[in-house]
């Protein structure tokens, strides 16, 4: 659903296109490319409009999302996106400027992809009781291909674990290490999504450093982070476990075999660091839980659609 925050960053011409149609409620992405038709992406595919976006439209949006302060978004530009109020994310493409081998900034910005953020409260209802044992959150890894709802699920897990769920689960101190500002969708440091009352967010922070920082400074009982995959990430996860902190994280993949195949995960698999793996797909729509794999006994629990 297009919110006021998204409309506020759009120039009048594009705003008219967005609001003046019947499908505006279903828009998930607005794709703007210089001299190309404006495209909306919704649940049921894309809609190509007759409006041809201009360079001024792109410039105008960039000025609005950065509050005329592009210098304050150098790090975000390096990563190719800026998160706006409401947690919506604007992906940016143009000419990349390199400083040696590292990305410095993007100039000649020519296309934007505005992704509308949304909370799906309750999408973790099925999974939560299966990863909680005796009021303890078990170390869990969520495995799924892109666009299958990993981050949305992670966000709802964070909210429910942090708030607690009656007598079955008391609220836990939780830290989200949000390297790409996707889980809590922070804007000026404040989470724009409901991630729970006991949740602290380390925004824009590398996972390996963030996990250690959180353990030292915030005393979390649970740490949540997205898309692990380097040896440094594994070291910090092991450090968290050694400190008695439970971890919920995600990786890109199709099933637990992807975890077994990749050498980087060898050590944590051998040491049975993770107790549960949640396998997601979009077979019956985004967020389909295929099954939950139990690392301790190799059992699979089939699931239903979220």
């Amino acid at each position: 659903m297009i919110t006021r925050e998204v409309l506020d960053i759009l120039p009048e011409t594009i705003k008219k296109e967005v609001t003046g149609n019947s499908y505006s409620e279903k828009i998930q992405e607005i794709r703007i490319k210089v001299n190309k038709p404006l495209i909306f992406v919704g649940n049921n595919g894309e809609i190509k409009t007759n409006y041809i976006s201009k360079l001024d439209d792109v410039k105008n949006i960039i000025q609005r999302i950065s509050s005329y302060s592009i210098y304050a978004f150098e790090e975000e530009l390096r990563q190719g996106y800026i998160t706006i109020q409401g947690g919506h994310r604007v992906g940016i493409c143009g000419t990349c400027v390199l400083d040696g081998q590292t990305m410095k900034t993007i100039k000649n910005i020519s296309s934007l992809n505005i992704r509308v953020a949304k909370d799906i409260k309750g999408c973790a209802d099925f999974i939560l009781p299966r990863i909680v044992k005796d009021d303890n959150v078990q170390n869990t890894i969520i495995i799924s291909p892109p666009k299958c709802g990993k981050t949305t699920l992670l966000r709802d897990l964070a909210r429910q674990i942090s708030n607690g769920k009656g007598s079955k689960l008391t609220g836990k101190n939780l830290t989200i290490v949000d390297e790409r500002s996707e889980i809590a969708a922070c804007y000026r440091g404040a989470p724009q999504m409901d991630v729970g009352v006991r949740t602290d967010v380390l925004d824009n922070c590398p996972k390996s450093e963030g996990i250690i920082m959180a353990i030292r400074s915030m005393g979390p009982q649970v740490i949540i982070c997205d898309e692990i995959g380097t040896y440094k990430d594994m070291d910090s996860i092991v450090a968290a476990l050694n400190s008695g902190v439970n971890v919920i994280t995600t990786i890109h993949g199709f099933n637990e075999e992807d975890l077994f195949k990749r050498p980087v995960f060898k050590e944590i698999i051998e040491n049975k660091v993770f107790k549960k793996a949640v396998i997601l797909s979009n077979r019956r729509g985004i967020g389909t839980v295929e099954y939950i794999y139990d690392f301790t006994n190799g059992k699979i629990e089939r699931a239903v659609e979220l």
Binding site: D8, Q63, S66, S67, S69, I70, Y71, A72
Partner: protein, 172 residues
Amino acid sequence: MIKGLGIILIVGASTILGFYFGDKFKRRLKELKELQRGIYVLKSEINFTRSLLPDALEKVHEKCDGIIGDIFLKAAQLLNTNEEKDVYSCFTQSINERKGELSLTQSDLGIFLDFTKSLGEVDILGHNDMLGLALDSLSKAIEDAENNLDKNVKMYRYLGFSFGAMVGIILI
């Protein structure tokens, strides 16, 4: 009696006029120094806290007195509307609204407006260079204003009184 009163009035009015024109040099110096202080605050807001430009300009307003502070605040308000084309047009509009009250010269305003042309559109290093250049130019303008102050304030005051006295003598 009436003649005497008229002469006193003329001498008094021309002396006040002399003081007013003399004080314009003082006001220019004060405004230049406020502007210099504002740019220093802006530089540190951009460099160290990476504040968004509207927030940084509001901070400048808090730290600067008088019209100069108000100009920064108005520019921040215009930026917050998200309707303006760029930062330069916000400052141009903001300055134009208060131009009648300013004692800055056209060249001083040129220094002010020049640095706003790329404000917010370049990286931190670019801002450092740009604001550094503006501060250098302002230092020279302040030096010039101080020289003019020494030379002209007394001159205008004496001139005002002398002109009034001269008219008075002619009338006698």
